[in-house]
């Protein structure tokens, strides 16, 4: 790992945006111990905290860890220092997009893009369309076909979206665009 390229302000920025002080971390590793997704994370969550503390931005932002974290807060109830790890991960995902980092889990980002695209179009999520568009995007047409068909047969997927009436209010929320991440996500695909 290249330890020479450090961004000394990086930790400060992350703390500011997330509102959680990662410098309190004891590296006791309770968070990773209880995380249900630890198998899909490389490295474990406290190592990401360490990387950010050390200003090793690239390694932190290009990790699979930040994308595999679902924000379930299982770690928060175990953390002795009350660090909001989910909020910390939220900020790193946004920064990874803003800083043009290589996205370790493009399918997971692709899924978020489809969900946000649906909310932008309808104000609500239209699950059938999200699934179909996600399939197109990942070019994985036949994986999970079975699950999709079963859901259709059980009437779990509505064919038509239900739509918010005051869509101007929804669009405003998307346009506020303080977040560069959201803008970049929007520029890259036509959604959201």
């Amino acid at each position: 790992m290249n330890v020479t390229r450090r961004d000394s302000d990086f930790g400060k920025k992350v703390i500011e945006r997330s509102g959680t002080d990662i410098n309190r971390c004891l590296h006791c590793r309770c968070c990773g111990g209880g995380c249900p997704f630890i198998a899909a994370m490389d490295p474990p969550p406290n190592n990401i905290i360490r990387l950010v503390q050390l200003g090793m931005k690239k390694q932190a932002l290009e990790s699979s860890t930040i994308w595999s974290c679902v924000g379930c807060h299982t770690c928060s109830i175990q953390c002795p220092m009350a660090i909001d790890i989910a909020a910390f991960m939220d900020v790193l995902r946004g920064l990874a997009i803003e800083e043009g980092a290589k996205i370790a889990e493009p399918d997971i980002l692709g899924f978020h893009q489809e969900v946000l695209g649906s909310i932008r179009r309808y104000g609500r999520t239209h699950k059938l369309e999200i699934m179909l568009r996600y399939k197109l995007k990942t070019r994985d047409f036949f994986g999970d076909m079975n699950v999709g068909l079963k859901m259709l047969a059980r009437r779990k997927l509505d064919l038509l979206p239900s739509k918010v009436k005051a869509m101007a209010e929804i669009r405003k929320a998307f346009e506020r665009g303080k977040s560069r991440a959201l803008q970049i996500v929007a520029e890259k695909g036509e959604n959201p």
Binding site: R17, P36, F37, A39, A40, S68, V70, G71, C72, H73, T74, S76, I77, C79, A82, I83, D84, A86, A87, D90, V91, R93, G94, I97, E105, D107, I108, F111, H112, V115, L116, I119, G123, R124, T125, K127, M131, Y134, G143, V147, K150, M151, R154, R155, K156, L157, S162, V164, K165, E169, I170, K172, A173, F174, R176, K178, S179, A181, L182, V185
Partner: protein
């Protein structure tokens, strides 16, 4: 029914899952509330709370989407949120606005409606605590052996640790209606949430572990507090032993003799054989 009581009006946010994939959850919840004289007033023109995706990428968007729903709550009313994830989003936004008067002002101006950052946002469990379940007539749950499944709803970010914990509420409610809760180790294991779509390879073994845990505990069914959990458990398990999975609201409605066969045909694992054997449904 007993003598007419005063009906209580409560604003109701169903959220996308209950409005679509988990309609049976929505309908059984409304049916139960109706019976106990709670009138759910659906928020007019509600929007998605932002789900897991908005805050994953953009916390500002997440705040605005959640806040719009808060601006739709009629003055002075409490808000019932059916889905634990939506609840976390909406209550998180409420707390944020309580501590950030500028954001509150901006959003009120944007929507042209006021937002009461002190409004009560309730989970169904809290509402249930005000109901005398034992007084309700109905067949009860006839010794139905179940494991309660809360998923991650009992975990919270550190800033919300003071909010009321939900642990044990399903067990207490269903026990008072004649069901038999079984202790097990998976009650608050995460169901995999949205990774179920993007990383089924990761979620499938997690879900299988949960179902195996239920089988080992000797449960006749799993009862879930969250529609997303319900769906992930149903679609992602690969083990051959099928354990029916009921929404908590379905179990409650069954206990008071209210159900609709349409709810159960929407399940991927058919719960009807179990419910028939317990004489909880007839057909």
């Amino acid at each position: 029914m007993n003598a007419p009581k005063n009906r209580v009006d409560i604003a109701y946010y169903p959220g996308c899952s209950l409005a679509t994939t988990a309609k049976e959850n929505n309908r059984s919840l409304i049916r139960f509330c109706n019976r106990v004289e709670i009138n759910l007033v659906e928020l007019p023109d509600w929007n998605c709370c932002g789900s897991s995706s908005a805050h994953s990428i953009d916390s500002d968007l997440a705040l605005d989407l959640a806040a719009r729903n808060l601006s739709l709550v009629p003055k002075g009313m409490s808000l019932l949120v059916a889905c634990p994830n939506c609840l976390l989003r909406l209550n998180g936004a409420r707390l944020h606005l309580k501590n950030d008067p500028e954001a509150l002002k901006r959003l009120e101006a944007e929507f042209g409606r006021s937002i009461d950052a002190d409004m009560k946002i309730l989970h169904f469990f809290e509402l249930l605590a005000t109901v005398d379940l034992k007084s309700l007539e109905g067949p009860g749950l006839k010794g139905l052996r179940f494991v309660p499944y809360y998923g991650c709803m009992m975990a919270r970010p550190p800033g919300m640790m003071d909010e009321r914990p939900e642990q044990g509420q399903m067990e207490a409610a269903l026990k008072s209606l004649g069901a038999e809760p079984i202790r097990w180790g998976y009650a608050s294991r995460c169901c995999g949430t949205f990774l179920s779509v993007a990383r089924p390879d990761v979620v499938t073994p997690m879900v299988d572990d949960i179902i195996k845990g239920a089988v080992k505990a000797g449960a006749e069914c799993i009862i879930t507090a969250c529609a997303m959990c319900h769906m992930n458990l149903e679609v992602r398990h690969t083990i051959s032993k099928k354990v029916p999975i009921l929404h908590f609201s379905e179990a409650l409605s069954l206990a008071i003799g209210e159900s609709d066969k349409d709810w159960f045909t929407r399940h991927l694992i058919d719960p009807r054989p179990l419910l028939r054997s317990k004489r909880l449904i007839s057909q």
